[in-house]
Structure formats: structure tokens, C-alpha cells
């Protein structure tokens, strides 16, 4: 199974979870259906024309019906965003396999999960809405709830014990480490350049190579650059996790982010940046580190609020080996690779586990706050949206591309606060994809259907799709795709003793053949050929029975023969072996050789030889055969 992501856009249908009782949210009117019925008014609330579920947010799981997940042997994780559904899979489906991921992926993935669990668990919600999920009821609801898919499959958030159990099933791997799976295939993670520890995966046997490219970046940010060379010679390249915002240039967005931030603060407003606790935030802090002095923001406090803020900042500093070259060099000095260490030291950046406690004492405005969750449905960000939403001095800047910012803001409407959309998605865009594909030249490309056509909202932009030859094979949710290659060969090892016993024969210049009759041992999908056992010994001890059990019935098989027999040479050989009365007769198709004394007649033709023996003695035949084989020396046994 490749990756194990969680669709969190489902949470956009829910009301935000406020940390502190919000009078505005609690006063929202219940939904009244078109026919005037109000039986849903406890579950569904209306806000500025949108309907929201008033319940604990729920997530949309990966497809679990299509196959029995207990038959999955291995899950390969490509980056920490793509493992958020792991506890649902490892804890509830009978999964007993192994999960492979890099160390930073696991550590930061754990932080993301911890933050998620924490921000949902600390706001216990008394009610859990389920009536609306009834198919008959859902039909009556306004969009987008009416069209939400698989709502019956939506699940509440997992718990920390489940997270720990899931993570304990992960085996840590390093880039370019070759991992043998059941002797049949080898998997190898490669740097994908997108996030700390993010990987693409090579899945290969001796003859076939499948590359799984997911969430890759060619931009120089903090992670180690993408390893493209190792993707070459792929039979199939599975391509996914491209940028969600193909039209936005990340560099430009960062510039816009900085200028909007500066403008707001200069005007005395506050800036709210809804974000994940790891990833782009490191780059943003680094930009700000260079920017704040020149922009005269040295006295503005920057706050990073998350239950895992401290861990995230600390962890970022210890993964030197997973960082880009510049950052690695810093560690060699030894200096912390990220400048946020200095921001913290100089008190410009402060981090808090939540808005409670120390933060409330230190809190000064105007300020800049980085906090989660980017969906604006839970986490400390909900508090600041409620707090700052009424003033047009304040700005919320969206940098994470996973959620539509308009949908995210819907339950906060009407809003006086400024909203700026600067999505920073460093993953591959379509131009980079075509360059990459030209570079690595896979035989076939497999990708989600969306990448094979322009985005629905911009159907004229034919440049916003994958363009390659042969055209990519696309897949849809719950569709089974057969990959177009046929396996023809497998590796087998010939033991040295057997190799020594082989007699190669040069058939054509440069081509030799040898007949192999050997014992085939197959263990853990590895095949080995050994010398066949000697014919079974006559019974000598009681153990005989066991021995014959172990040794399979051994029938030496004769090779196929090829070539034709030169008669003169054959006759000479016969004479050499003591046949004195050899007579040769020519026939239409060849020759007949008569051995009168041995009462034997040999018909020789171009592609066949027939030895007819008139004698009862089978031994005789053997002898003839032996001679015959000698002659065949110049012919070939295959």
C-alpha cells in the first residue's frame, strides 16, 4: 500500500471548535428544511447562508472496502502528511504488516497527529450528530452537505494510544537503503525534496522497476534535494502529489506573504497565519529572519502556538542528514541549521503549547501568530479568528494549500478582518513534471485522472495537465488498473559445485550452451540450483526411509539433441570400438549402417537417427548407444 493519507476537507462541513465558549457560534440558528421541518436544528446550524454540522469534526478515510486490508503486507509512507490515516488502518482492519518510513517522517508525523488529537480532545463536545448522515435525510440538505461522499465512512479522530500503537508498527529506513521484501522485491526510499524525510519509493525486482513519485519538489527549500537520477529506467512511474495550486509561484507567494504581514503590523493590526506545526513554517520563519530587521519589524513579537511547537522547532535542528547542503554545512561548524534558533534566543520568536498559561501573560499586540489548524475548524486558530475577526486592521494570511480559504472562512462570516491568500505549495507543477519525465523517461506513467485533463475551473488551460508520450494511464478512486508489462525472467543462483560440473559447448561463435539437470531449491522466493543428489544408497540403516523422503525421486533426463551425424566419422568411431563388420548403405534420405554381428541396424537421416537392434540383450543396445553418443560429440546435446 502506497501511503495512507487522511482527507481532512470533510471537516470544513463542521462548525469550528472554540477553546473558549463563543456566544456567536452558540447563537447560530438551527437549520430549517425547505418543507419547514426542524428535526435537524440540533445537528445542523446555519451561518451566512452555509450549513454546518454542529458536532465533533470527522475525517474521510481511505477506501477500505475495496480489498481486505489484513492482506496488505507493507505500507510505504512518502511524507508526514501522507500518514495521517495510519491509526485507522493499523488498528481497525486486521493489518499485521510492516510500515516503512524515514525517521523525520515518523517524528514529525507523530507531532502532526499529536496536535490533531490534542486540539480535538481538549474541546469535548457533548453531542455527536448522525441523523443528517442518513441517506434519506442527506438528500434533503443544501449543498455541499448533500453532495458529500461516503459520509457513513467518516470517522472521529483517533486517540493518542492508537497513534502510539500505529507508530510502533513503523520500521525506520534511510534514503537509498535497499529493503528486501520477502525475497521477491526490493524497495528503496529516495529523497523527494518536499519535506524533512520525504521520500519517493522504488519498488523493483531484478527485471522490473516501478517508481512511486509522490509529493516531490525541485525547489531549494530546507530538505535534501530530490533524487531524480535513481528514478531512471522505470518500467512504470506512478505520479501523484503534484502542487494543488499550479498557477501560483511559491517564491512570489512568500514575497506577498512578507509584504502583507509588514503592512498589517505597521498599521497596528495583528497577523494570523493558520499553519501546520512543521514544514513551510520553517521556511517562513527563515524568510522573516532575514526580513524583519530591514522591514523595521524587530519589535513585533512572533508567536508560535501549538502543543508541539517546541518539539517541532527542536526536531527541525537535529535532522542534519536530511537537510539541504547549506544547512548541513552549518551543522558541521557546529551551528543550528535553522535560524529560528536565533529568533528564539533573541526573544523575537516565542512558542507556547496553547493560549492558556504563559501565553496570556506575555501576549502583546500588534503581533504575528502562527498556529493551527489550517482548516480553521479546531486548534488555537479558532480563538484568534473569533478574537480578531471583527477588526479590519487585522489580517489572516493563508499559506497552506490543503483547504479552500473561502470554505475555511465560511463559518466566520461576516468578517471584517482582511484575508490574504498566499498558498505556498512547493510540490511539482506541470512544467516541472514534463521536465522530470523527459529526464527519467519511464516506459509508462500512471497518475490520478485529474492530472490528465485541465482543472474544471480553467478548462482552457491545457498546459495544466500531464503531457507525455505514451499518454499517461489514469486511475480513479476504487478502480483497478493493470500495469502493462509481462514478467519473463527471474534470478536464480547456480551453486559453484554445479557450475563446475557443467560442460559448455560452443554452438555458434560467442554462444555456448550447457545442459543443466539440477536440484531446484526455493526458499523465501530465492531460487538456488544445486548438484542433484547421488543415486540413493542401498538401504544400510533404519534411517533409510527418512533419507528417501528428503531426496526426491531422481530421474536423470536426457537432453534434446541437435545437429546431424557425419557418417564417415561415425563409422570410424564404431570401428574403433570393435565393430569390424560395419556396412553402409545410402538411402533417399540418408544412410543405413549395418552391424551384422551385433544384429543392429542404424538409420541415419538429417534430423533423426533410429537404432534397431535384433538382439534380446538390452546391454548390447547400451553399447551401441554409447558409441552413438561418442559420434554425437561433434553434434550437439542440448
Amino acid at each position: 500500500m502506497l501511503d495512507c493519507g487522511l482527507d481532512m476537507t470533510s471537516t470544513l462541513n463542521f462548525l469550528p471548535l472554540p477553546l473558549v465558549q463563543s456566544p456567536r457560534l452558540s447563537k447560530l440558528p438551527g437549520l430549517v428544511l425547505k418543507d419547514g421541518s426542524t428535526f435537524l436544528d440540533k445537528e445542523l446550524k446555519e451561518c451566512s447562508g452555509h450549513v454546518f454540522v454542529d458536532s465533533v469534526p470527522e475525517f474521510c478515510l481511505p477506501e477500505t472496502e475495496l480489498l481486505d486490508l489484513s492482506t496488505v503486507d507493507v505500507i510505504l509512507i512518502s511524507n508526514y502528511h501522507c500518514m495521517m490515516a495510519l491509526p485507522y488502518i493499523t488498528e481497525y482492519t486486521g493489518f499485521t504488516g510492516t510500515v516503512y518510513a524515514t525517521e523525520p517522517t515518523v517524528q514529525i508525523g507523530r507531532l502532526l497527529m499529536e496536535e490533531l488529537v490534542n486540539s480535538i480532545e481538549r474541546v469535548p463536545k457533548a453531542q455527536s450528530a448522525s441523523t443528517w448522515k442518513n441517506k434519506e435525510v442527506q438528500r434533503l440538505l443544501p449543498a455541499p452537505l448533500k453532495d458529500a461522499v461516503e459520509v457513513s465512512m467518516w470517522r472521529k479522530c483517533y486517540t493518542m494510544p492508537e497513534v502510539n500503537a500505529a507508530l510502533s508498527k513503523i520500521q525506520l529506513v534511510g534514503y537509498s537503503q535497499k529493503i528486501e521484501l520477502f525475497g521477491a522485491v526490493q524497495v528503496t526510499p529516495l529523497s523527494s525534496g518536499y519535506a524533512l524525510g520525504s521520500s519517493n519509493w522504488i519498488i523493483q525486482s531484478h527485471y522490473e522497476k516501478v517508481s512511486y513519485v509522490s509529493g516531490s519538489s525541485l525547489l531549494t527549500t530546507h530538505p535534501q534535494p530530490m533524487d531524480q537520477a535513481s528514478l531512471k529506467n522505470s518500467d512504470v512511474l506512478i505520479l501523484t502529489g503534484l502542487t494543488q495550486i499550479p498557477t501560483a509561484n511559491p517564491d512570489g507567494m512568500v514575497g506577498e506573504f512578507c509584504s502583507n504581514l509588514a503592512m498589517t503590523v505597521r498599521n497596528g493590526g495583528n497577523v494570523l497565519v493558520p499553519c501546520y506545526p512543521s514544514g513551510v513554517i520553517y521556511d517562513l520563519l527563515e524568510c522573516l529572519y532575514q526580513y524583519i530587521d530591514s522591514a523595521g519589524l524587530s519589535n513585533v513579537p512572533f508567536y508560535f502556538i501549538s502543543p508541539v511547537a517546541n518539539s517541532s522547532l527542536e526536531f527541525s535542528q537535529i535532522f542534519a542528514e536530511w537537510l539541504c547542503h547549506n544547512k548541513q554545512t552549518k551543522v558541521y561548524l557546529p551551528e543550528p541549521p535553522f535560524p529560528h534558533a536565533e529568533l528564539i534566543q533573541t526573544n523575537k520568536l516565542k512558542h507556547y503549547p496553547s493560549i492558556h498559561g504563559d501565553f496570556s501573560n506575555d501576549f502583546k499586540q500588534p503581533c504575528v501568530i502562527f498556529t493551527g489548524h489550517p482548516s480553521l475548524r479546531f486548534g488555537d486558530v479558532v480563538h484568534f479568528m473569533e478574537l480578531w475577526g471583527k477588526s479590519s486592521l487585522n489580517t489572516v494570511i493563508f499559506t497552506e494549500p490543503d483547504f479552500s480559504y473561502l470554505d475555511a472562512l465560511a463559518p466566520y462570516q461576516p468578517l471584517a478582518m482582511k484575508c490574504v491568500y498566499c498558498p505556498i505549495d512547493t510540490r511539482l507543477n506541470f512544467i516541472q513534471v514534463s521536465k522530470l519525465l523527459k529526464e527519467v523517461q519511464p516506459l509508462h506513467v500512471v497518475c490520478p485522472e485529474q492530472y490528465t485533463q485541465p482543472p474544471p475551473s480553467q478548462s482552457h488551460r491545457t498546459d495544466l495537465m500531464i503531457d507525455c508520450q505514451p499518454p499517461p494511464m489514469s486511475y480513479r478512486r476504487a478502480e483497478v488498473l493493470t500495469l502493462p508489462y509481462k514478467r519473463r525472467y527471474e534470478k536464480i543462483e547456480i551453486m559453484p559445485e554445479l557450475a563446475d560440473s557443467l560442460v559448455p559447448l560452443e554452438i555458434k561463435p560467442g554462444i555456448s550452451l550447457a545442459t543443466v539437470s539440477a536440484m531446484l531449491h526455493t526458499k523465501d522466493n530465492k531460487h538456488v540450483l544445486q548438484l542433484p543428489p547421488k543415486p540413493p544408497q542401498p538401504p544400510t540403516s533404519k534411517k533409510r526411509k527418512r533419507v528417501s523422503d528428503d531426496v526426491p525421486e531422481c530421474k536423470p533426463l536426457k537432453p534434446l539433441l541437435s545437429g546431424s551425424i557425419p557418417v564417415d566419422q561415425f563409422v570410424q568411431t564404431l570401428e574403433k570400438h570393435g565393430f569390424s563388420d560395419v556396412k553402409v548403405e545410402d538411402t533417399a534420405k540418408g544412410h543405413i549402417v549395418l552391424l551384422q554381428e551385433a544384429e543392429t541396424l542404424i538409420q541415419i537421416e538429417e534430423d533423426s537417427t533410429h537404432i534397431i537392434c535384433d538382439n534380446d540383450e538390452p546391454l548390447r543396445v547400451h553399447e551401441g548407444r554409447k558409441v552413438k553418443l561418442c559420434c554425437l560429440g561433434c553434434s550437439d546435446a542440448i
Partner: protein, 595 residues
């Protein structure tokens, strides 16, 4: 027969200047490039003329691998690459790459600035040398070239120490460098998978030692330090800046904390703070416990241990000082030692191995009057204690590693000849593998017997395995095929496919034998008798009576005719092809007789 050749240029029956040449399947790899602490002349570096007499280093060597940052493993590197001249790749782990140049610079300073030697490598040479270094991750398979690959395993010992697997085709060598099989307070234990190398080259520093439990040693150490401090004495602990220093610091730090002690602990040289910083940044290389708790509390931020100033040595009252270097052969530790040696209240604790020729080695072997520079005699009255805290595997650990990796041969380096001899016997007895211990410059040749990988057509393999699926898939079975050898490629296919591929026609070879039997009955009755008989005898074979009156047993054809002269004699024509097994044939001919 393929062979692996090993020649130690250093560390052969010796500790110091580790440098081992390995030739495997046409590739030449140099393992470590160290200096010898016991020498100040030419002998301090490995003798590279062994290679250069036949040409340039770069032409001969495919790569150089450095196992860890200790100078006896990397101290000769700038000399080797910049002064003798090597431009190929040098592999080491990230922490080693980070720390190695600092120790080299330190070594250069002591040699050139303090001892005034010339003709030594320069700072610039260290920098140029480090530019040739390629950093590797643990378990990453590094493809040095098309055939040669190397892979690093965790070795414990010091931060960033690694064991390396060198592999060409199916032949492989594992070199351990220095390793530790028991986890300590800041590092984990060495680990390797069952990689079954043809040869394991292992260090053998503690070849004959089986150390008591670590806990006892630690308690002993703390007791001695504590007692000395209590009676107002000073404790000197000579260490290398990185490695045991951190281990003992953690030990003393926790002890001071627990016992609420007030005596100052110092750590000498400016290197230290920097050193601890490396431990903080490379925390992923430390043990599990430290890694898990580092966000809450970084074990390398010490509360009780402060930087040492030269003037402190003359302060009255008790103190504990960690000072470099660890063998008392130069620098600050030696200076402090000279100051404190005369007082019996004081104590020096040697926590690691000392090379012959160093002051450390002398006092450990009981010498109490030392001749210092300028003919001065230094009388040692302070107590001298030796406590093995060096993170090397002991005899038990070495055996454990052999058990883990299951090598076909073992070669000992980095130890003393006498002790090696003992361990060699033990290894040969317990594992029944050959064990070698070459001296420097001596070449050991090991013959390998690799199996040959060939491509088998899936059709043939499936056919053979399908037959085997019943009744027992695991049982080995006989397979027949034809090996096609063409331009170094080996393919095993079915004989039919081989004929077809090469455009050869099959040559049929048939045998027919006339068997005369006395049977007055009619021909078809004779046939029926033979048929019934065969059917009874050959239960495992398919025996058929065809409409044309002939009998087939598998592919063997039997026909009966009356003898042209004697009606009472019937002639059985038994006809088979060359490919028919001898077994069936024998059965048929013998049973025909029988009837």
C-alpha cells in the same frame, strides 16, 4: 577461483594507524587512514609506498572508507590525500565528516605549533581533503561505481562510528572499525544484520578481556572520585574531547546532582563546548533514551561541569578535571598531570586504552619515575587508576558480532598479537571458520566460492515449481534446462526454447529393440497379456492399449508381430527415444522377458 586479498598497512597485530587494504573482485578499497600515537617519526603514518611504488593512489584505489573520527583511524587522511596525492572518493558518516576536521586541526596544531615540526599537513590541506569526503547515511547503499557498493551500520563506540559492508556482486567484506556491543549512557550498541560476508575484519582491542558489568565499573569509578574529592584531593581524568568524555560527564553530572556535591568539575580546552554542541545536533546518533527526552532535557547541557582555565590547576581544594588528550602524551592533560603528580592525595584515572610509548602507558604499567623533556625526572606519587571505559567490544562482544553477521572468514586487526592469537583460536573453535591475523604489510588471501547468478525464464521456473506444488512445495525438485551463455549473460531456459532461439532443429534419436518371446497364442492375445502385465507392474506409469494394437508406456511404444519363420515365437518391438528415462526402459525390457 575468486579471491579477496587483505593487507594491513597499519593496525596489523597492533593498535594505531589503522589502515587496511582490501582487494575484492577487482576493486581496491582502503579502510581507515589513521596515525599512530606511539610514534613521532615516519612510522606514525601508514606506509603508502606499498601502493605508490606501482603507481598513483587514485589509479589504484576505488575508494577510501573512514569508520570514525578517532585520529588512529583518520589522522593520516590529509597527508594521504594532499601530500601523497589521492583524488578519489572518501566515505564517512555525517558526524564523522563534521568532527574529523576539527580533530585533525587540533592534531596539526599540537604537532606543528607546539612541537615545531615542519613538513606536516596544513590547515588548507585539511580543508581540501575534506572536500573529497562523501557523507553517507546509516544503511544507505552507496553505489561507488557500477559494481562496488558500500553500506554503513551503527557501531556505537563514538558519535558517528560505523561499520561498513563492502560488496561486489555476491562477494562481500564487513569492516567493523571500532565498535561497542553494549549500549552506554549516551550511545547505542553496534548492530548488523545476518549479512553473511565472505570476510569479517574486526577490531580486537579487548580480545582477551571479558569485562564485568558496566554498572560495577561505574560504581567503582564514582566511589574513587568521590573518596578523593572528600579527602580534598584533585582528580585528573585524561580523555579525548569526544567520546568517553561525554559518557563520563553524563555519569558525573547525574552523580553530583544526586549526591548534591559541591566540588567543581571542569572540562579542559575550548573544544569541549563545541564538542557537546555536535552531540546536540547529531542527537539521532545517540541512544534511544537520550533521543526520546532531548526536547525536555538535552543530556549534553551540563549544569555542574564548567570550562577549565589553566590557572585553576593551582587552586586549592578538591576538583575534578577532564583534560585532553587521553593518553597523557601531550597537551593540557600532561601539564596538569605534571603539576599534580607529586601529591599522594590526588588521583589520575585512565579511562581508556593507552598506546605503548605514551606517559599513560608508562604509569599504567607501574612506572613511577618518569623522564620528562630536558632530562627532568618526575616522581609520580598520586594514585593511578585504570578503568576500562573505552567503548570497544570485549571478547564476548566480538563473538556476539560474529554470531550476528555469520561471516565465512574472520580477520583480526587493531589488537595485540598475543591476545589476537588467543581470540583466533576461540573463534576457530566456536564457529569453525578460518581466522587470520596478518601483520602490517602481510597479505592474507581468502578464496571465495560465489554462486553464479543467472536469469531463468519464468516459464521454465513456473513449470518446475508447478510440478513441485504437489504434494510438497518446499521439497527440492529436479529441474532440467539449457544454459545459454552469450556475451557474459547467462540465461537458463527450457531445452525447447533454447533450440528455438538458436534456430536449431531437433535431432531425434530412437532405439528399437526386438524382444523374442515364446508364445503360441495369437498376436493380439500376446499384446493383451503384455498389456495386462505391464499395467500390473508399472502402476505409476501411464500404460495404454491403442486401437492399432500397440501399447504405449509413457512415450515408449511396444508392438508385437509373429516371427516370420516360427509361429510360436512372437517378436516384441520396443521403441523409445533417447530422452526416455533408463528406469522405465529397464522395467519394460525385464518385464517383457518375464512374460
Amino acid at each position: 577461483m575468486p579471491e579477496i586479498k587483505v593487507t594491513p598497512l597499519g593496525a596489523g597485530q597492533d593498535v594505531g594507524r589503522s589502515c587496511i587494504l582490501v582487494s575484492i573482485a577487482g576493486k581496491n578499497v582502503m579502510l581507515d587512514c589513521g596515525m599512530h600515537m606511539g610514534y613521532n617519526d615516519d612510522r606514525r603514518f601508514p606506509d603508502f609506498s606499498y601502493i605508490t611504488q606501482n603507481g598513483r593512489l587514485t589509479d589504484f584505489l576505488d575508494c577510501v572508507i573512514i569508520s570514525h573520527f578517532h585520529l588512529d583511524h583518520c589522522g593520516a587522511l590529509p597527508y594521504f590525500s594532499e601530500m601523497v596525492g589521492y583524488d578519489g572518493p572518501i566515505y564517512m558518516t555525517h558526524p564523522t565528516k563534521a568532527i574529523c576536521p576539527i580533530l585533525l586541526e587540533d592534531y596539526r596544531k599540537i604537532t606543528v605549533d607546539k612541537k615545531g615540526e615542519t613538513n606536516f599537513f596544513t590547515s588548507q590541506m585539511i580543508k581540501d581533503c575534506m572536500k573529497k569526503v562523501v557523507a553517507v547515511h546509516l544503511h544507505q547503499t552507496v553505489q561507488v561505481d557500477e559494481e562496488l557498493e558500500i553500506k554503513a551500520y551503527y557501531a556505537g563506540h563514538v558519535l558517528g562510528a560505523a561499520m561498513f559492508q563492502i560488496k561486489v556482486g555476491c562477494e562481500s567484506v564487513v569492516y567493523t572499525g571500532d565498535y561497542n556491543m553494549t549500549p552506554d549512557r549516551h550511545l547505542g550498541a553496534a548492530w548488523i544484520d545476518k549479512c553473511r560476508p565472505d570476510l569479517l575484519i574486526t577490531e580486537s582491542t579487548y580480545a582477551t578481556t571479558i569485562r564485568d558489568s558496566k554498572r560495577c565499573r561505574e560504581r567503582d569509578f564514582l566511589k574513587k572520585v568521590h573518596e578523593t574529592v572528600e579527602r580534598g584531593g584533585k582528580v585528573l581524568i585524561p580523555v579525548f574531547a569526544l567520546g568517553r568524555a561525554q559518557e563520563l560527564c553524563i555519569l558525573l553530572e547525574t552523580f553530583w546532582e544526586r549526591m548534591n556535591l559541591k566540588a567543581p568539575i571542569y572540562f579542559s580546552t575550548g573544544l569541549t563546548e563545541k564538542a557537546n554542541h555536535y552531540y546536540k545536533l547529531f542527537i539521532t546518533w545517540t541512544n534511544q533514551k537520550i533521543r526520546k527526552t532531548f526536547v525536555q532535557r538535552n543530556m549534553f547541557e551540563f549544569k555542574h561541569i564548567k570550562a577549565f582555565d589553566r590557572a585553576f590547576a593551582d587552586n586549592p581544594g578538591p576538583m575534578v578535571v577532564f583534560a585532553t588528550p587521553g593518553m597523557l602524551h601531550a597537551g593540557q592533560s600532561l601539564q596538569i598531570f605534571r603539576k599534580w603528580a607529586g601529591n599522594e592525595k590526588n588521583m589520575v584515572i585512565m579511562p581508556g586504552y593507552c598506546v605503548q610509548g605514551t606517559v599513560g602507558h608508562k604509569i599504567l604499567s607501574g612506572q613511577r619515575k618518569l623522564e620528562m623533556e630536558g632530562r627532568q625526572i618526575l616522581e609520580v606519587k598520586m594514585q593511578v587508576e585504570y578503568m576500562s571505559f573505552s567503548a570497544h567490544a570485549d571478547a564476548k562482544g566480538i563473538m556476539q558480532l560474529i554470531r550476528q553477521a555469520e561471516p565465512r572468514n574472520v580477520l583480526l586487526v587493531h589488537g595485540e598479537a598475543k591476545k589476537m592469537e588467543f581470540l583466533k583460536q576461540k573463534i576457530e573453535q566456536e564457529f569453525h571458520v578460518n581466522c587470520y591475523m596478518p601483520a602490517n604489510g602481510e597479505t592474507t588471501t581468502i578464496f571465495t566460492n560465489p554462486s553464479i547468478p543467472v536469469d531463468i525464464s519464468l516459464g521454465l521456473l513456473k513449470r518446475e515449481t508447478a510440478i513441485g506444488l504437489l504434494p510438497d512445495a518446499k521439497k527440492p525438485k529436479l529441474m532440467h534446462g539449457t544454459l545459454i551463455m552469450k556475451d557474459n549473460s547467462f540465461r537458463l531456459v527450457s531445452p525447447e526454447q533454447a533450440l528455438k532461439e538458436l534456430g536449431l532443429a531437433e535431432h531425434q534419436l530412437r532405439f528399437t529393440c526386438r524382444v523374442h518371446i515364446q508364445d503360441p497364442r495369437k498376436e493380439h492375445e500376446t499384446v493383451l497379456r503384455v498389456y495386462n502385465h505391464l499395467k500390473g507392474v508399472l502402476k505409476d506409469y501411464s500404460v495404454q492399449h491403442l486401437p492399432d494394437g500397440s501399447i504405449t508406456v509413457e512415450s515408449i511404444l511396444i508392438q508385437a508381430t509373429a516371427h516370420s519363420e516360427d509361429q510360436g515365437t512372437k517378436v516384441l518391438l520396443v521403441s523409445w527415444t533417447y530422452q526416455v528415462g533408463i528406469l522405465e526402459r529397464t522395467y519394460i525390457s525385464s518385464s517383457s522377458h518375464w512374460s
